[in-house]
């Protein structure tokens, strides 16, 4: 038995909002792979929960009329990886969430939970940052949209207003069209492990595939919340596909990142692998985009 005070089950988004208004102390539970574990640990013991797990309308991936990719917040990791829209336009997201935990965790864990937990090591977070994802939130006042970088306030704290729930993650067409990307999870084990560092890079090459038109890079565990490395991105714009470009790009990330010492790894080690992973992920992104790196 879980140590919970009460459970309120919502069958629709409006019902969930109403339940959250009626029970202002209640916490949202989606797949529960964070919430239930923390309840067992005692951190959330005695809490009231509003379950949104049965709201099937929040599951699935669709393409909107303007080309925006819409990922329902309850879509599980395994369904994201298997989805043809994801595979075609933003395959790296499917690959990134395929590195979460093990198979059973990927069937229960949702992208909504992975972003609303505000955790820097969340495997979807760096890729969503690197692809300019938009978070759609629905609350008593209606629907609002916020860029994912503004959604994260501090470690474990995201911009969810009272009685609001995340209803979708949106990837606008301009954010994915022509881009190819790669995610690297650095962890001690190949499965069932939390990232020591996560690095997601993507590039858009010029038409002749000689230069980088645009590059984006984001990290998990390089700071208290997932973050972009704007210095590296700015440097890369317009550069030729050379070893020098990769080298300077990788070094520039140190201008932005701010990792810390933890039991998993030291700050110095994280700074080191941040550069190594930036270079590897950029190299692979260029390859996926059809570019060739010259000496």
């Amino acid at each position: 038995m879980y140590d919970m005070k009460a459970l309120y089950e919502a069958e629709s988004v409006s019902e969930a909002i109403q339940l959250l208004q009626e029970h202002p102390e209640a916490q949202i539970i989606a797949g529960g792979s964070d919430v239930l574990v923390q309840m067992r640990e005692g951190k959330r013991a005695g809490a009231e929960l509003v379950s949104i797990y049965m709201i099937d309308a929040l599951r699935g991936i669709t393409m909107e009329d303007d080309g925006t990719i819409r990922i329902g917040s309850l879509t599980s990791f395994s369904h994201i990886t298997k989805d043809p829209i994801i595979q075609k336009y933003i395959n790296v997201l499917g690959e990134a969430v395929d590195m979460v935990g093990g198979p059973q965790i990927r069937n229960i864990g949702t992208i909504g939970g992975n972003t609303c937990n505000g955790v820097t090591s969340a495997d979807s977070a760096s890729t969503l940052h690197a692809w300019d994802a938009i978070v759609e939130l629905t609350g008593p006042e209606g629907v609002r949209r916020t860029p994912i970088k503004d959604f994260y306030i501090r470690a474990g704290k995201v911009d969810l207003k009272p009685a609001e729930i995340e209803t979708a993650i949106l990837i606008p067409k301009a954010a994915y069209e022509g881009y190819h990307g790669h995610y690297i999870k650095y962890a001690m084990r190949n499965a069932m492990d939390i990232a020591t560092l996560g690095c997601s890079v993507n590039v858009k090459l010029t038409e002749n595939k000689e230069r980088i038109e645009d590059a984006r890079i984001a990290y998990g565990v390089a700071g208290p919340v997932p973050m972009r490395a704007p210095h590296a991105e700015e440097y890369a714009r317009g550069k030729a596909l050379t070893e020098e470009t990769i080298d300077i790009f990788s070094k520039s990330v140190l201008e932005d990142i701010n990792p810390r010492d933890s039991w998993r790894a030291s700050k110095a080690f994280r700074e080191h692998i941040s550069q190594v992973l930036a270079g590897r992920a950029l190299r692979e992104s260029i390859r996926l985009a059809g570019g060739e790196i010259h000496g």
């Binding site: 038995m1 459970l7 089950e9 539970i29 093990g102 198979p103």
Partner: protein, 166 residues
């Protein structure tokens, strides 16, 4: 908790429609073990790490220890008990675990086998590395991983060969 809160949950378990009142605080492991005596569903870590409580829900594997019993409403749930034939025969994958000495204390076995069932029913052929990844949500304290992989791989190959002949 002031007043106990219960809910009527109707679902299909191992092919039979079942209904019971559950305490909303119960996990699916609690319900399967206590209300339906399906003791192949083990209580290991109870925090989603070890896979001992793994069952198939609507065709996908879940750790039932971190799945609320009330979420079973309307679902089709399968546990290891469903693999037994009408006269108590073992299924091919269970027999393979015995033949390959993939069972030591046996605590992890039902969970592993249910993941194997999902793998085998996909009808796909996987490489050894892919199988390793597909089984990575399970811990075996007796560390018989190679034998477990052998059992799953051999059964996969046998079934694929049989399908070929048909």
């Amino acid at each position: 908790m002031a007043d106990k809160q219960y809910k009527l949950v109707t679902c299909t378990i191992n092919g039979v429609r079942r209904q019971t009142m559950v305490d909303v605080r119960a996990s699916l492991t609690d319900m399967l073990r206590n209300d339906y005596q399906l003791t192949s569903v083990k209580k290991g870590c109870e925090v989603g790490e070890c896979g001992a409580c793994n069952v198939i829900i609507d065709g996908e594997c879940y750790n039932s220890c971190i799945y609320l019993a009330v979420w079973a409403e309307g679902k089709n749930i399968r546990t290891l008990e469903s693999l037994m034939g009408p006269s108590g025969e073992l299924s091919d994958i269970q027999q393979a675990f015995i033949d390959e000495t993939a069972v030591q204390c046996g605590f992890c076995t039902p969970g592993f086998i249910m993941s194997a069932v999902e793998i085998l029913e996909s009808g796909k052929e996987y490489s050894r590395d892919e199988l390793r990844k597909l089984l990575s949500g399970h811990l075996c304290r007796c560390t018989g991983y190679e034998n477990i992989l052998n059992a799953v791989e051999k059964t996969m190959k046998k079934r694929l060969a049989m399908n070929h002949e048909v």
